[in-house]
Every structure is written in C-alpha cells, then in structure tokens.
Subunit: 383 residues, 2 copies
Amino acid sequence: MSVTAARGFRAAGVVAGLKSSGALDVAIVRNDGPDQYAAAVFTSNRVEAAPVTWSRQVVSDARVDAVVLNSGGANACTGPQGFLDTHRTAEAAADALGVSAGDVAVCSTGLIGELLPMDALLTGVERAADTLSDEGGPRAAEAIMTTDTRSKQSVVTGDGWTVGGMAKGAGMLAPALATMLVVVTTDAVVDPADLETALRAATAATFDRVDSDGCQSTNDTVLLLASGASGVRPSAAELQQAVTGCCAELARALVADAEGAHHDIAIEVRTAASEEDALEVARSVARNNLFKCAVFGNDPNWGRVLAAVGTTTAAFDAARLDVAINGVQVCRAGGVGEDRSLVDLTARDVSVVVDLHAGEASATVWTNDLTHEYVHENSAYST
Amino acid sequence: MSVTAARGFRAAGVVAGLKSSGALDVAIVRNDGPDQYAAAVFTSNRVEAAPVTWSRQVVSDARVDAVVLNSGGANACTGPQGFLDTHRTAEAAADALGVSAGDVAVCSTGLIGELLPMDALLTGVERAADTLSDEGGPRAAEAIMTTDTRSKQSVVTGDGWTVGGMAKGAGMLAPALATMLVVVTTDAVVDPADLETALRAATAATFDRVDSDGCQSTNDTVLLLASGASGVRPSAAELQQAVTGCCAELARALVADAEGAHHDIAIEVRTAASEEDALEVARSVARNNLFKCAVFGNDPNWGRVLAAVGTTTAAFDAARLDVAINGVQVCRAGGVGEDRSLVDLTARDVSVVVDLHAGEASATVWTNDLTHEYVHENSAYST
C-alpha cells in the first residue's frame, strides 16, 4: 500500500506534536535502493516555501535518498530562519539515516507565515527514522494530512514491478505543474531521464487538471522515486502509463475529498480548436463561483457556464455553443435547449460537457461545488 | 435624485409582473433634450446578451433618446428570438414616446437562458412611458434591482449643472470595461467626444476596480446621457471629474451591497513597477477564495495574500514583500512581521496594503468577503 508497495522503500509516520490534535504529523520515506533516482515537479507560485527551495536543489542531481514530510506548518513566508529550519530538518534525517543531507528532500504543509517548532519536529524526525518499515506507507500517508478527511493512497502493478503513491491536499488545489504534496515510488529499473519524462507527462494529465478552488499553494511538490529493487526494466511507455495511472487515482481522490465538497464536477470541453483552448475554457468554468454555488444547490444553471466560457480567449462562435449537464442538452446553439428541469443533480458526480464547435481537441478539468462547508472550513480555522 | 436629478430627464419604474415578487421591474429613462448625446461601455464577455448587442448598435451614432431597462430576466443566451424580443421592446418604447426605435437602448438583468414574457414586458413598457416624470429617478433605480437589497443612486452637482446616476449589481461583479447596469445622466452642454472620454476614464477608475466574485456578466452596460438642458458648458476636465465622482459613489455602493458580504475590502498595491502590475496583483488577491473566507472569519491570514501575489507575473522579489492588514504590518520582507493577533477585523471596512518594492505605481481594487450568505444566495435561487 502507498509508498511502501514498491520494493526497496520503507516509511514511517509519527506524532511529533506539530498538530494540536495529537495526530500523526511527521513522515519519512526512505529509498533503500539499489538505485536512488528521483524526479520532481514543484509549485509555480513565485512565493515558494523554504522546503520547496531546498528540495528543488536536492533533486537537481536526480538523486533522493529520503523524503521528510511534516504537516502542522507550511514553513512558507518564514524568511532566512525558515530556510535554516528546513536545512536542519534535512540534516537531522540524514544523520539518523546515514545519508547525505543533500540527498534528503523536505516537504511541509499547514499554516503559512509561522516558524515551525523545531525541537518537536527534530525529535519527530529521529523517531520516524527509528521506526521505518516496509509496511509504514499508510502511516506516512496519514501523517501528511491537514484538512483531508482521509488519507490518499494508490498502487498500480506492472509485470513484476510496482508504482505506489500517497498524496495530501484538500484546499489550495489549483494547477501549476504540481498541486499538492505527493510522493510516488517505484521499484522499476529506470533511467533518470525516463523518470523525469514519465513524471512530467503524468502530472500534466492528472494533477494539472484538478482545480478545486483556483488557489495555488506555496508548497506544492510531487516527487517520484525509483529504487530499481524489482530488477525489472519496463519500457518508457509502460512506466509512464503506470505512473500516470497512479497519479490519476490520487488526483481524483484529492477532488473527492476537497474541502466541504458535495459534488465532484468533471468539466469536459470538446470540439475545441486546440487542447490549450479546451483547457482554458474548462478552467474558466471550474473557477466560476456562481456556477459552483449553483451545483451545490442542485441547480443546472447553464447560463453561468456560458458566462464563464465568454470570458476566455478560446476560438468559438457564441451562437454555436452547446452545453450538456448530466447528459441533458440544456443549451443548444448558444440558446435554450432541453428543459433544465430534466437535469438530475442529486448524485455526487456531475458531468458538464461544453462543445465549442471550433475543432477536434478536448480536455477535462475536475473541480467541485462551492458549499457552506468550504466557507466554514476556510473561515473558522487558520490553515 | 438618481437619473432625474439633471434637467431634461424624466424616468419611471413600474410593476410589469416579470418578478414573481410583484416588485417594480420595468424602467424607462427619457432624455427630453435639447441634446440627446450618449456614450456607453459594455461587457467584454464574448457571450453577450441580446440587449447588449442591440444597444451597442443604438449608441454607435452617439445618440440615445431613451433607455428601457428590465429586471426579472437577462435575455441572454436566448438566440435569435431573444434579439427579436429586444427589438420589439425598443419599438414599443419608441412608439409610446414618439421617437425612433434606433435611438432606444435596452438593458436587461436576471436569469440567463430564458425568454422574457413579452406580453407582460410590453404592457409594462407602455405603462412606464405613460408615467414618466422628473421625479421618477428613485422608482427607476428600484425597478432594476435583482438581489440588491437597496437601490443605488448618486448625484454630483457642478456650477449650474448636475450629474446623476443609478446602478444595480450584487453578483457577477468583475471588471471588464463595465460591470453592471448603470445609467448616468447630465444636463451639461457637452461635445459627444468629451462624453465618451469622460465615461471611459470614469469606468476605468471606478467600475473596473470593483471585483466582488470574479464572475463577469453577459449584460453589463454603463450608459451616460447628456441633455444640455442646463445651458452650462463645463470644461472637459470638470465633466470628467463629476462623472468619475458619480461613478465612484455608485461603484462603492455596489460593493457595499454585494451578495452576502460582511466586509468591504480595499486591496491597495503600492510601489509596483507599473499600474498594470499593481492591478494584476490587487485582482489576484481580490479573487482568492481562501483569503476572502479568512476575512469572513475575521482571520488576518496574510499567508493567503502572499500565495495570491505569487501567482502573478508582476515584478517583485518575494523576499521583499510587505503586507499590512488594517494598519498592522503582519508581513515584512516576505516573512513574519508584527503579531497577527494585533489585527482587529471586526469592523466592516478592511484595508489590505501590499508593497511590492519594485517601483512607484499603485492601484486599489475593492472586493468583499466570501460568506455563507453568498453561497446561500447563489445556490438557493436561480439568478
């Protein structure tokens, strides 16, 4: 399960006391090899957290021996002291594991703008290093949760090799290379260049197509580690397919557990002039608060879909736009189509299909509705 | 008061039965001259309502004799029939007023994607034409309300001449030339070219700086009509200043009455490399749902401000960013500043000041918080 499904990996999750709830809050994922290859994508937010700055550097030589992750604090907007704290965290893990600090990636998540309680964190790192196990994946996945209501894990099995992963993310889900904390592991024998290619292709097709609330985090990190422990070398295409499958399952789990969501909404834009156009339109709909409120109210308010489409630069003729919601063609040729009262929005899954009639490209973006619980979670608690 | 404060204008508001509540829902503003000059700005949404398409054409010769406005239906995404309905509305008003239909602008607001009940509307237009009066401004302002809780009116007095206006708008407030239905009138003697210049300058500095929910309407229209009835010719600068003053008051009233808002938030970006940069950063913060939820919860969560700043292309160094909330410098040099618990967010007005330290330009965008009432209004009712 999770990051320990692939051979050559151990993990742990411990209580370090960073979360006032007393829940698991520090995790380590250790790659025992024989290979220690790694690839990563990070947030494109220009205000990036100290652990992102650090891990970018660590991954630049395509080698990662271990990853330390903590919830209970993002260590973002914490200045030079925040960077020193990330450095000390990597060094503490390196000492405990007998590796170089320069090969230890660090990920943090939680409130922005507060320094981490370093005594508690470093004690937790030592404890996690002492309790690493090849069955530690689920506890590691639990330790990175913030407002997540459940941990996210995924496993894809190849012929004698495995890809497994864990993810956290419940708010600030918006695409920009990566969108959350994710660690994916594989025991396949791979070339570092293929690993990089597989991860970029997988994130572009999965995490980059998830947009819960249009808000982009300072800490987003997706790491892919390869141990080679299976002794099996899949083709580059097989590797990419398995990594994409694992990331797709994690991405869907993130949307399904997005803060306060009652509905998962798949926005499919078809017959676009280009994939870029299709994505721009799908994202515009996915970020329209009015439409997302309407879905929460089980109201198939397709006018709000068209209003969102109209704000884009995509190629289309407004008099040819079609919109279907849950299979009912509520808008035809830019005007009134089938009776909107035929749309049943009681199920959790909602399908919105927009036809631009401008070409042959398509794309889907996943989002969710805007609910009272979203407002409550993000107003009543600092996260 | 309102559009009848300036001489040469009559107005009316009547109950036509478009709103199920039985409230006023059809208005006419009539310019009795001697001049019938007009300027307008419209939504930049590419999915534009039939009345926008019609009124664009009407205003193209800079002459408008009357404006018909209705709430209770946007007549957007209604296809060729919707355009015919707008045309019939203009003709009915023209017949009743003894003017040309080509000089009658039409504005509609309400639910997108439904045809208007034309019998009721045309009867209402006749009744409104019969009850025009130079004290009709307040009733006209009331007739264009949708989810507005109060009508918006403004008057600015010059030396012997006057500018007055009315506006509606409570959701779908996002800038793009215009942002709502607005009619502004003046009895100043003006050149049509000066009228156009004054209106564009005024909207750029007022309605374009209001962003309630990031959602852009299909029906936005701002009309400025000049009768010349005062016989006084102000300078172009005086005219522009008065029109801007009137629009600024209306714009602030729109934000103050935005759907479900508990806080009015002024986001001021300073020391930017350019005004464009300042605006981009201010709008990014204004559209950040997480920050807007935090303000609703009286939580000075400045990390969410920095996360929003980081998504822009503006010139800045993340390690030099400063943020003050209600006068408390909570973020200094990209890191922790004064204690966030010193910020008092209990008052309705909230000030956020972001310093980019990249130049000398600045800009302010007005928005509001994201509340339970916003979700309720936009999920429980089709608007």
